[in-house]
């Protein structure tokens, strides 16, 4: 058994043994769990996929005369931000689109530009056009503001994603007779394709499936820079059914993450357009897993063929909230490019970039090896399977207008 403190001492001395979540699989196969647990100090993971509940908050600095954006309207490159804060704090959501975007009026809408793209451009160092209107007060008299802004000049620019890094995800198919356009991509009729979205054996929460090391406060690779796990993500669902290896066989845990946008890189925060669906942000995340003992290694060495997920119909089942799966497949099957659904051979596509996930795990490995990146002790663990934490549907109740 090792402690995070001991591992950090080794990292500082440049003596830590760090391997990626792919390399640990090979190592365990070759040397066994016990030997691998003794030799390895840290396993690095990675994922690079579209993550819609992402966004960033900014403090743009006070103008002269002052303006109070709270209660007003503020746009970056025509994309509206949330202004319900104090004078110059604003939040830009990844899925926001300009007011004049035709959306799905001409179906399927193209969604060429939105919040995710603005975030990428800001990180790339490009100037962004800010336009704001406010109602004016005695202390904040200004009613209009138009200016270019640049990330480097802002006071705070913080990426704060309230749900990222899903632990496992559905395979999406379309049982209907017409093409549908979803957040899982274009799905051809009669199970014409099957789209999935996970880095499988490299994905952070699949390699620590019972949240033994990842918790609130965990320091991570976020968007090419350093970030932290801020909380469990929204819709965190630890009670999802699990296999004997602890790995949930459907979407389960999530994390909320935070980090200084100014030290991130545009190649790891990519504005993304989903035809007929909307815009989003593709986010790169890598989580280091400290090897505390054999158990950590056993979890971290789970292979694609041991990680299962559900095939879900997105023409009826998903939109209508009808539970049910068309079958279970593992990531090794998905990665062959073909799976069998209802007796039909179906080509598969991944929305999550495996090659970029691998790059993240390698990058994080190099940071730790160089001694630049120390691990953190989680402040509080994420709610686990036994915590009673649940993901509930909305309970709609009719509104009685007479009583209002």
């Amino acid at each position: 058994m090792k402690t995070i403190k001991e591992i950090n001492e080794k990292i500082k001395k440049g003596e830590a043994v760090v391997v990626t979540a792919e390399e640990i699989i090979e190592l365990v196969d070759k040397k066994g769990l016990k030997k691998a647990a003794q030799e390895v100090d840290v396993v690095t993971t990675g994922t690079f996929g579209p993550m819609c509940s992402s966004g960033a908050y900014f403090n743009i600095g006070h103008s002269k005369p002052r303006i109070k954006l709270g209660g007003g309207v503020c746009k970056f490159n025509d994309v509206p931000l949330y202004t319900g804060f104090a004078a110059v704090d604003v939040y830009l959501g990844a899925t926001a689109v300009p007011d004049d975007d035709p959306r799905n009026k001409v179906f399927p809408g193209e969604f060429k530009y939105g919040g995710g793209h603005v975030i990428q451009e800001l990180v790339a160092g490009k100037d962004v056009r800010l336009e704001a209107t406010a109602y004016g007060t005695d202390c904040y008299p200004r009613k209009r503001l138009e200016t270019y802004i640049n990330l480097k000049d802002l006071n705070e620019a913080v990426l704060f994603n309230i749900r990222n890094c899903y632990q496992n995800y559905n395979v999406a198919v379309n049982l209907s007779d017409k093409t549908i356009y979803t957040y899982m991509g274009m799905l051809k009729p009669q199970i014409g394709n099957a789209n999935y979205c996970s880095a499988g054996q490299l994905s952070p929460l699949l390699k620590d499936p019972c949240y033994k090391t990842i918790g609130i406060g965990t320091k991570i690779f976020l968007g090419g820079g350093i970030g932290y796990v801020a909380w469990q993500g929204t819709q965190h669902n630890p009670a999802t059914k699990r296999k004997d290896n602890g790995v949930p066989n459907a979407p389960a845990g999530t994390i909320a993450v935070i980090g200084d946008l100014k030290q991130m890189k545009a190649e790891w925060l990519v504005g993304t357009s989903m035809l007929g669906y909307g815009v989003t942000l593709t986010v790169g995340i890598g989580v280091p897993i400290p090897v505390l003992g054999e158990e950590t290694i056993r979890y971290a060495a789970a292979k694609d063929e041991e990680i299962y997920t559900q095939i879900v119909d997105y023409s009826e089942s998903y939109p209508q909230m009808v539970p049910g799966s068309l079958g279970e497949v593992n990531y090794a099957q998905l990665k062959t490019g073909k799976i069998i659904v209802q007796g039909k051979e179906v080509p598969t596509g991944n929305l999550s970039s495996y090659s970029r996930a691998r790059e993240i795990a390698e990058e994080l490995k190099s940071w730790i090896k160089k001694g630049d990146f120390l691990l953190t002790e989680p402040v509080v663990p994420l709610p686990g399977a036994e915590s009673g934490y649940a993901f509930k549907p909305l309970k709609e109740r009719p509104i009685n207008y007479k009583e209002i």
Partner: protein, 135 residues
Amino acid sequence: MICKKIVLHFPRRLVDQPIVYKLVKEFDLQFNILKASVTPQEEGLMVLELSGKKENYALGMEYLQSCGVKVQPLSQDITCNEEKCTNCGVCVPICPTDALYVDTKSRKIIFDSKKCIACELCVKICPPRAMEVRF
């Protein structure tokens, strides 16, 4: 025998002429229309797979050029902007000719422009919009 995929640009004055018909009738060439569009008052565009005897093919090309049709090989027209591509792979099952595929070792997405028929299905479904059209 020769078989090539080409893009024909018809100037406005030619869009009502039976030019492709002549390729068949006079030069004994076989064609498969992969894409065609004519905008009123503008130019016409046609993507063809054209096959036939080598000498006939050459004569056919000469004929097209003499009429004022601009001929261009197809492979130049759809490109993958590698700076934008994130190598996700959602395009792979959509491509009807397997011109887009996953390299099993690197897990990177390869675009084989020789197999591309310029159907453009990948263009709008590409999440970072890395597939570009240059007709």
